[in-house]
Structure formats: C-alpha cells, structure tokens
Point group: C2
Chain length 410, copies 2
C-alpha cells in the first residue's frame, strides 16, 4: 500500500542510485571495441600528423614564389614530379619549383605551402601556372596540429563511437581496456504470469516485463540473463534470486502488482540479506519500486505493470546500467523537443509524473499529444515517442502549455 511505503523523492532516489560502482574491466581488440566503454584515458602515442601533410590536392611550393599571383598575372613554376602516396618525395623543393601532392601526402622539404589544384593550370612541358598566391603554411597541416603526443584522445568512461574507434586505429592501438558488460539477471514473479509461449487461462497474463526489460538492458550495453517466472512463494523466489545473484551484477525482480506480493518481495529481499535502500518513489507510474543492495550488487523490485516497468527503467535503471558499465556523465536525454500540450493533464503536487506523449505537427508547430490510458494500457507505450515530465511542484500541465519532450532516440 502507498501508505506503508517510505517514499523517496526523485532526487533522493537518483542520489542513492549513484552509489553503485562500475563492474571490473577486460581487454578487447580494436575490432570489438565499438560500443564498449573505455576504462582508461586513451592518450595519443605520437604527434598527428607526424610530419607536415597536404590538406588539399594540388602542388607543394615555396609560398613566396606565388606572392601576387592572379588570373591576370600568374606565377610560373616548374613541376618536379609528385609526392608518391605512402612514401616521401626523395628530394627537396627549390626556388621556382612545384611538386604535385594529394591530400594527406607528406609535404616535401623546402615547400611551405600547397596551392590548390583548382588555382593552377598546366602549361607547356613541366610548366605550371599559378593563378592565386598562397601564404606560408596555407593548405598544410603542421606536425602535431591535429593531435599532440600524450593528449587524451578518448577519456575513460566514454562509450566508443565510430569516430573514437577510428582514432584508436589511427594511433595503432590494437587492444584496449574496457569495462566488462554488466550482467543483468531478470526474474518475473507472480502466480498470474505465464510464459509467452503459453495460452493464459482467465486471470492469467503472459510475461511481458522479462522481455521488455531484457531489451532495454541489452540496448544499454548489458548482458542479460533471463531468469524465467517464479510463483508467489517466498522460498521459491529466494532460492532463484540467490542463484541468479551468483551469476550477475544486478538483479531485477519484476512483479508484485498485488499488495500481498509487494510485501513478499520485500521479505524475500530481507531474507537474502539485502539492505533496503528505498521502497517507493514519489512518481507515477512506478511508485512501489524497491531498491536494495546485496554486497555491491543492486537488487531492484520493479512494478509488475508493464508500462510502469518500462518507465521506471527509462527514468531510474538506465543510468544505473550505464554507471555499472563504466559510463560517466552521459546525457540521459540528448533529444529534447519543445512542444505545446494538445490537452490539459492533471497531476498531484508532490509527485513527478511521466506522461507518454506522441509528437505531432499542426500548422508548422510541434505539439505533444498525451496518450491517454493508465499504466495498465500497454498500447500507450507503443504509440508514444517520448515523455513529458510533470515536476512534483506542479499540479498538471495546461492545454497549450509549452513543454519539453524527452524523445525516444532510435
């Protein structure tokens, strides 16, 4: 019952969730590094580039040989060949000379600038006309201009993006230390819950949360262990939990939509030696969420109602999964959209509400349409593409009110 819960505010719950530590680390090869979280700062092993390189296709020259060149009064240089890709030009560039060069090519000794090919034209024999002067250093990437040796290229705690993987390749880092993927075990509980392969009898429902929560945790970089469905029996749940905890870093219990079962979950947790960190958050949906700790491992009691479980995962468990996977300071909702509410939705002060909304366009304006239906209505999550948060000090949102939508990203 609500009355017996020791409710935490959203801020308090988040603070408590930040106490958990990342799991240990392992070594992976470059080819498997994408999407993993760096466990150490990656520093550049050398200057990049190590020698001056052309930033454009064209000709390496001495800049002063081109001063004042224009279409009307071109400079004339003599082409001495070109820089071979993958090698260096074997000679230096003298006064009045030019050497063909492609983007990325090593600028030969003697040259201090590159004239873009667009501003040149080939004349008779090895003659080259320059139609636009260049300043010293123009179109040249200086040694270490891109990245200096020992610079931090990728900070510890970052989940590696494609460009980060590219940087690892550029610096010749064939292996690196990353956080192990946290192992998240999920156990559904409830006498009314049957596996998706079964046909429910009247009063029964198929297990939704195990699969939805597994998909959420996998998306956040975890390895998932599906624990199956336990009946509402303290001994059975406790035995299964003990087994799952041995094999995992985090345990999620889903279920307990009925009053008696909530008490059951709490008593099972106490039997496991779990320290209860909170039992209840001042939110809707998902109020009766339980967080406890067994040793270093979080054990969560999630609401059995599917929409509540999805929302609580999005709002509270995702940052925990990220943190245990080693991510630091990752922004939870990079896609925030300003919109106006299509209709009024009341709330209750003292409670943070997570409205499921759909973004729609009306006369060029973006509107947030709340998907009506309580947390027992699973289609609300299928139709939604974001949340509107009604803060705990507000008593709802008004029709036409400006809101910020936290969009689901991909």
């Amino acid at each position: 019952m609500g009355e017996f819960l020791n409710l935490k505010s959203v801020a308090q719950a988040r603070e408590i969730l930040r106490e958990f530590e990342p799991v240990d680390v392992e070594t992976v090869n470059l080819q498997e590094a994408d999407g993993r979280v760096c466990a150490t700062d990656i520093r550049a092993r050398e200057d990049m580039p190590s020698s001056a390189r052309a930033a454009m296709d064209g000709y390496a020259v001495r800049a002063k040989d081109t001063f004042g060149a224009s279409d009307a009064v071109p400079s004339f240089l003599r082409v001495r060949g070109s820089v071979p890709m993958g090698d260096v030009f074997p000679d230096s560039v003298g006064a009045g000379e030019a050497v063909g060069i492609s983007t990325g090519g090593v600028v030969p000794l003697g040259a201090d600038a590159v004239v873009m090919v667009e501003y040149t034209s080939e004349g008779e024999g090895d003659e080259l006309e320059i139609h636009k002067g260049v300043a010293p250093g123009e179109n040249v990437i200086r040694p270490a201009e891109d990245i200096r040796k020992e610079d931090v290229v990728i900070p510890a705690g970052r989940r590696l993006r494609p460009q980060d993987v590219g940087a690892l390749a550029a610096f010749g880092i064939p292996q690196l230390t990353v956080y192990r993927r946290p192992r998240v075990a999920i156990l559904s509980t409830g006498n009314e819950i049957v596996a998706p392969t079964e046909t429910p009898r009247p009063g029964q429902v198929r297990d939704v949360n195990q699969y939805a929560l597994a998909a959420q945790a996998k998306k956040d970089g975890a390895c998932v262990l599906l624990g199956g469905v336990a009946r509402d029996d303290a001994a059975e749940i406790a035995a299964r939990c003990a087994g799952l905890l041995e094999q995992s870093d985090m345990l999620i219990l889903s279920g307990g939509s009925s009053v008696g079962v909530r008490d059951l979950t709490a008593s099972v947790l106490e039997g496991l030696g779990a320290e209860i960190l909170f039992h209840g958050i001042s939110v809707r949906p998902g109020k009766p969420t339980i967080l406890s700790r067994v040793g270093k491992k979080p054990v969560l009691g999630m609401p059995g109602v599917p929409v509540s479980a999805l929302v609580i995962y999005d709002m509270f468990v995702r940052p925990l999964t990220w943190r245990m996977g080693g991510e630091r300071d990752r922004e939870e909702w990079p896609a925030r959209v300003k919109a106006r509410m299509t209709r009024r939705v009341p709330s209750v002060a003292g409670r943070e509400d997570y409205l499921r909304v759909r973004l729609i366009s009306r006369n060029g304006e973006t509107w947030a349409e709340p998907i009506m239906g309580g947390s027992a209505i699973i289609s609300t999550m299928l139709k939604a593409n974001g949340y509107v948060v009604i803060p705990s000090h507000a008593e709802g949102v008004a029709e036409g009110e400006d809101v910020e939508v936290l969009r689901f990203c991909g």
Copy 2:
C-alpha cells in the same frame, strides 16, 4: 578532379539511394528480436485485455452502491474476499458487496467499477467504508480497450524497441519474421595505408576508415565483413571486390584520396560490370563519393580522408543501410537542437556543407561552436557532438545566426 566529376545535388543523390531494395528475411525467436526489423505487420491475435481488468488496486463494486459516498457520508459495503491473481473470482458481486482486487485482476461478474483503496477504510469484521463514489466503468479496463484483435500492433519496417518486444510477448508471439541483417563488406585501398597494428613509415598512415565505417554500419544493424587493405592496383582491387561482393549485400571501397586513384576506383567498378549511378555529390566534405550498382548491390567509393568518410556515411550511407535492413521512414536525426553560431563560417553557394560543431552553453543560451580544421583533421570528429548543415543556396552562416544542430545520439 572536381572538374571531371558529374556532380549530383544532395536531393538527387538521396533519390538515387532510395532505389535500393531491402535484403531477404529470416525467422528469429522473441528473445533475439530486439533491435531487429519487422518484415510483416504484427497484428494482435486477441483482444487485450480479453476480459475487464482493474486499473487500480482497490475493491470491485457495483457503482450505484457508492453513489454520493463521501468522507462525511460514506457508503458501507460487505467484503466478500478478493480476486486471486492468476485466476478469476468464483462468484459474482451482489448488491452491497465488494471484492478486493489488485491492478490487473479480472473484474468479477456483477461488478462494474473499482474503488481505489485510497478511498476506502476497513471497518468492523467484513465491513468496508467507501469515501468517494465511482461511476460505472471507473478504474476498469474494458475488454479490447487496450488493443483490439487484428489491430496492427507493430508495423512492418520498424526496428523493434523494448516496448515492441514487450508487446510481442504479451500476444504470445514466440517467433517472427524479420529482415536479415545486411552484410556490408569494407575494403580499404591505397599504397599509403597500413594496418593499425603496423608502424607507418614516413608517408604512410594507418587504416582508419575500415574500423570507423565498420562501427557505423554495425550500429545501424549490419553485419560487417572487414576486407583488409588493397594496394592501388586495379587487378588486385577488382579481384578482392569480386570476392567480397559474393559474400555481401553492399560493398564500401574506402580510399582514393589521390587523383589517380579515384580514376582507378572508377575503372575497377566498370570492370566489375558496375553501373555508375553518380560520381560526386555537391557537398563538403566528401564530394568525390561514387555510387554504383552491381546487380542489386550498391558498391560505394568513399573518400579516403577519415572525416569525409565519417560524414558521408552519416549523411548518405546510413539511410541506405537502414533501407537495406528493411527500415521504413525512420527519422534520420531525432535529436535536433536550436543554437546560435559562435562564429561566422563561410561556404560556397551550390554546395551543401556539413560543419562539425560542439554545443556549448553560454548565459543559459545554447551555442554551436564550429570545430575548425579541414576534413584531414580527425580530432574535429572527436570533439564534435553534432552537425550544422549549410544549405547549398547559402554562402555560409553568420556569427550569432540561429541554426539547427543535428546531434549525435548516444
């Protein structure tokens, strides 16, 4: 050379890219369905809920027995037990009677509403006080109110999100037809390119694109085949391409930063019987991108400069990977942020420019700071967290100008 390219506009290039078809389909189990793309519309196999269910914890009652109830003048009912979770109440609810019920429980015959537990108090023996009347249907989810049998729950072409996987579980769909993951082969070319495990000699550089492009394609749901590095030799490249094409649905050639090599790539493609669809897009960076087709398979020649390759992937290849993986109408940039430019960046009319920018906060305003440095500067992509697109009709963006930033998501 730019002069010899047959440049397409961005709109033309995108139009041509839309001609490619999705790969074939396969069957997966529910447990492996997350992140896969549905190949058929998934329809509800039954009404949900199949019978009336409680939307709240409380008591199932006949609404008219509670009419006018208030704190001052409560209604008094007699509790007849409670609905067991996972089963149905064996009797019907008569006049003046109430049956305890949890969220999700099947509303017993005779009852037509649920009084929230918060508005009740238990009296002597089986007596229950009701402090607030309910209307018929209140706190009850009607049969089929959530989803009606035969409704499309998940449309074909959607990449399955956690909530979609939950819906599949709810409807007892243990297997489903999804698009096969497209196989993307990547071959780096260039005499100057060495593997990341090697120490480059002067003039050489390590292969960045193979690993960065692989990470991009994997993120977009593809299986990646790393083809290694080929030297600038038409026969070698052609032989490797032929082998890779046999094993893949799409082939990406990366390289050809030098003029001669671009021509080499084009001639190799023609030798493979590839139909060249375009050679060059009016963009910066990445102008000399080649798209061709061998049978039904796209073969792309991507710029060798790492930043250009990353940008061209983001802007043109990602939607192609999605399409070939069966996705329909997915929004490319769900995270768009309004910001102001910290400085002027010139451009050239007739060309679309993709600026790498970093979002920063200044006096509560969001600003987009362009990361200076050309496409040869790999650190520009490490520092950036989004793009600003300068449209082809503009000659740049002004300092302080309002722009939209396409943010990198996650």
